[in-house]
Symmetry: C2
Subunit: 245 residues, 2 copies
Amino acid sequence: MTYCIGILLDEGAVLAADSRTNAGIDRVSTFRKMFTFEKPGERLFTLLTAGNLSLTQGVISLITEWLHSEDPERDLFAVTSMFGAARVVGQAIREIHKSDGGYLQQHDVDFSASFILCGQIKGGQLRLFMLYDAGNFIEALGETIYFQIGEVKYGKPILDRILRHDTSLTDAAKCALISFDSTMRSNVSVGPPLDLMIYRRDTLKPSFMVRLEDDDPYLQTIREKWGGALYKAFHDVIHDPGWTF
Amino acid sequence: MTYCIGILLDEGAVLAADSRTNAGIDRVSTFRKMFTFEKPGERLFTLLTAGNLSLTQGVISLITEWLHSEDPERDLFAVTSMFGAARVVGQAIREIHKSDGGYLQQHDVDFSASFILCGQIKGGQLRLFMLYDAGNFIEALGETIYFQIGEVKYGKPILDRILRHDTSLTDAAKCALISFDSTMRSNVSVGPPLDLMIYRRDTLKPSFMVRLEDDDPYLQTIREKWGGALYKAFHDVIHDPGWTF
């Protein structure tokens, strides 16, 4: 399984991904699921991946091969808008579907590959997209300020309670890590190390990147303290129903 | 969709179910998903249901028809153990599968019907079971003190943080309702009224039963205050990561 989050804020963006993959419970490995494509000061794209590893790796390889082709329909370094960048990723998903989809079907394997794309091109806006198996995509607009892919449910309530447009980048990163903590606690197929990137709007290069290992002190703090924090909130803030029985 | 929880504690049990059903988003209705079968002072069984409504209703109807048949393999009022009671429910699921499963298959409809069974027979222990589509079942033993059916993920983190064997019945009921609040916030196909039962061990009758409507003041308190409580915990308890960027 996988868990990835992309958050779009007034100040910029926060992106995070776990790195655990499994093909059956006896084949558990660590693979990076966060990929950046950048020309510092000119453009930055970050992709988060979920789904069948052979497919998502295929998509990333294809996008990498297409770099410097100077074809604005395939080259992330040639596209003139984030919409164009999302279409490149969608096109790569469709190419992989064309080459592999039929063969997977013969083995009753679903074609599953979803992506979060976040990025900015000089002169344009910072934008956040989520792409589906079919290469189609949606964009975070208005009230929607984050996308999740993979094991999305356990970690969603905390995001909904904390994140606003004007949440600071630091708070959003902290919130993302609490969301990961809840998810990793409930699904062992989501696991560290976690890759986290913070991007300050208009800087056109990663502002902060870190890989948090399982024994990272900050992850440990969250693991140890968040449960207690909830326990305290549970007892201090919500009064008893007062039912007698 | 559906969300039901059964919690087994030192003091007794807490059971809760939503009541929203939908057959497509334009066919949303309210149906009870909590059913009790009791001989006060002698035995009490509570069933929570999730899945295809025609199937779960069929199972409940069959169990009801079998009452007073005095067949210990079919009659909840004749079984001599909770294990026997779980087998009765499993048998009813299998009968409905036998009569309806093939026809559903012709329409590409999955046979989906899962149940939580909690109860006690005089002289025996209070026990909690979860039954699957195939009529097989598992029991809450050791570290496992709750079962969920339906839309289980959004509301799981709070259960894992709060519930222990020695949690009071009142706290467990409160925790269940917070779990429902998180679930209803994230999935509109889970909705009030909520049915909640509290059972004090060895009393052999429901200790407290309530149907909480959408405008119930206690549900409203949770809805309004829990978000703020999390927000406060988020800021007060977990320090910032201290990253500079």
